[in-house]
Subunit: 216 residues, 4 copies
């Protein structure tokens, strides 16, 4: 007989065995697949469990919550993307005479990263607007990316290679422009040619940063 008052559930068993870790992974995948197909709210924990070939109860041995599952996925995903982008922002890579190709490559990276699981993107962004915890994760990594960008800009500014007034704001603007363009492109409702748009953002950013535009 289930006890009436749900007490704060003890921490889910931490997976130490290999099998356990794989089960965790299976749940994560099943959940994401369900969310992608049916939407977050519309997916029941039972559905996730069934898809992971598990009983509902088992699921709760691995994750405290339905929410936690997605949150964890967000963590992983976002962390990965951030890593990718931040690596691309390493000042070492911005030494060449022409920086435009670097910009172009950066944009492409971001789009690629985003493209991994377009279906979940929607869900994740929905959560971003709805749930402060999700927002926090998004923002944490955003901060990291923006800081890396800022650092890069500061370096370039010192070398007189960019014409911005102030790196912090510039970093925000570039991040914001690239992020949203990218999101809109991967969401598929932008109604523009993706490649043209990608080149476009690169131009947008380049022209913002660099004096002349030889390509024109």
């Amino acid at each position: 007989m289930p006890v009436a008052k749900p007490r704060p559930s003890r921490a889910p068993r931490t997976p130490q065995q290999a099998r356990s870790r794989r089960t965790r992974e299976r749940i994560l995948e099943a959940a994401v697949a369900c969310f992608e197909e049916t939407g977050y709210d519309e997916t029941t924990t039972t559905q996730i469990a069934r898809r992971a070939n598990l009983a509902v109860g088992s699921l709760y041995g691995y994750f405290r919550d339905k929410r936690t599952i997605l949150l964890e996925y967000l963590h992983e995903t976002v962390e990965e993307i951030a890593e990718l982008v931040v690596r691309e922002l390493d000042p070492e890579k911005w030494r060449g005479p022409d920086l435009r190709p670097s910009v172009r490559s950066l944009v492409r990276r971001v789009v690629d990263a985003q493209t991994i699981r377009p279906g979940v993107q929607r869900i994740l962004w929905e959560r971003f607007f709805k749930d402060a915890d999700f927002r926090a994760v998004f923002l944490r990594i955003e901060t990291r990316v923006r800081r890396a960008l800022e650092t890069l800009l500061t370096t370039l500014l010192a070398d007189g290679r960019v014409r911005i007034a102030e790196p912090t704001t510039a970093a925000f603007l570039i991040h914001s422009a690239v992020q949203w363009t990218t999101v809109r492109l991967t969401l598929g409702d932008a109604q523009v040619d993706t490649d043209a748009a990608m080149d476009g953002v690169a131009d947008l950013v380049s022209r913002f940063l660099f004096e002349s535009d030889p390509k024109m």
Copy 2:
């Protein structure tokens, strides 16, 4: 009980319709206020009704659905903003020798429009990602704005006043950059100075469009 005298035929017709419209309005306001405070899912229809000084049942005489209420609000809001922005994009207004001030003014308009009810913005965007009907409304007006922008750009391009390759893509990019920067600013988690950022977007767009940058 007064006998039914034939009333003069030009009696104010549908006196109820006026009242009805006001009730509708009241519900709309109440709902939006609730959503803003508590979130969409978290707001019950009963709460909305109570706030509108109505019984739950009555609510359903005016709107098919909880969803419909917000959807309708989105319609109104978005329509309004679109009008404002589209007006600003009238080629007539882009005749002056220096177009930078026009860009600046445009950006400011968009931000102003967005700032009206920042609380609902979040809800609306959440819905955008979750519900295709909301997305449709967003996209319909986005299309209008982008078309207006495109028209403007085409005109300017013909006059050789902008250095873009292709108006459609350019319109998308500008819209996207301005929209998201704007959203992030009004959402309040951007962690940058709003004014600096606003000037920044204007620069971003200007440098994208126009050859030289006298300010530098």
Copy 3:
């Protein structure tokens, strides 16, 4: 779609109409009947609702909780019994030359009161030991009865009609002895003749309070 996190439910609508009050009563009765038959934990809210010819949801319009239903019943019951007993303890009624009949009558009252719904008694006592809120209700009225008893004893003591050392303790003892004997008798597992036992407690109390015992 039910919202995930149950928020503190707003207060159940307060019954002001007569029909409403009758529905409340119906639920109360249905619940008690279920509890009596099946036990508290074993009764589901749906069962209660069905028995009250209602939908589950409606039930929650009248009571916040399953627990609350029983708690309310306890309130009513216990209040009633207390009233009855306290009235019996009015010093006015303890003026006669022989107080033994008064004691006897008192005991009978208590038993009678207890006998009203023997089935729920068990549930109520179970709750007494399990749930502090139930205990509180029990104790509140116990205090009232014991105080009334204490007052009576104090009066009688002043008149030299009882041979107790101290009214507070005496009140506790008498209350405790009568209560438990009574409970055991009504619970039906005492394995003694009820009438004999009832006379017995009366004697027990009488002999405790009064000097000689003419009956012997």
Copy 4:
């Protein structure tokens, strides 16, 4: 791997049985400790196991059931107490000229016994009202105590040392009065001085049984 040498046939037989018994004991203790802290329903078998340094599964090798664990504890406890009390009721001990000290000593014994684990008392009584099997155990030993008491009373009655009409009922009354008073005192919500109350019950019983009351 050591080859199986035929071991001397008088090897300490069932060395596991001893270990097994100790494990059983450990579980019992762990369970009771949990119940005491958290309540019966609120304690999970996993918690018990953890506290006993065991896996959940192992638990079921020793006890059929969560219920069985407590039931077994009840058996032991109750049996012990009964033994203590019954011994005290041995007619041999009721030979002295004044029986009041014997009563007093008896009461003290009962209280002492009860005080051993006040926390579980509550749980046990809760079960008493909820579960017929628990009730049965309680009643079985109650019967034994009451019979011992009855025997004693019969003896004393034959000697004209008590003024009761009938030993069975008297035994019930005394048992009931002492038990409940005792329970209420150990439960800690009686709101009276424990020592005074204990003396009180002794008086209550003494006056019920014996003619004069020299103390008065």
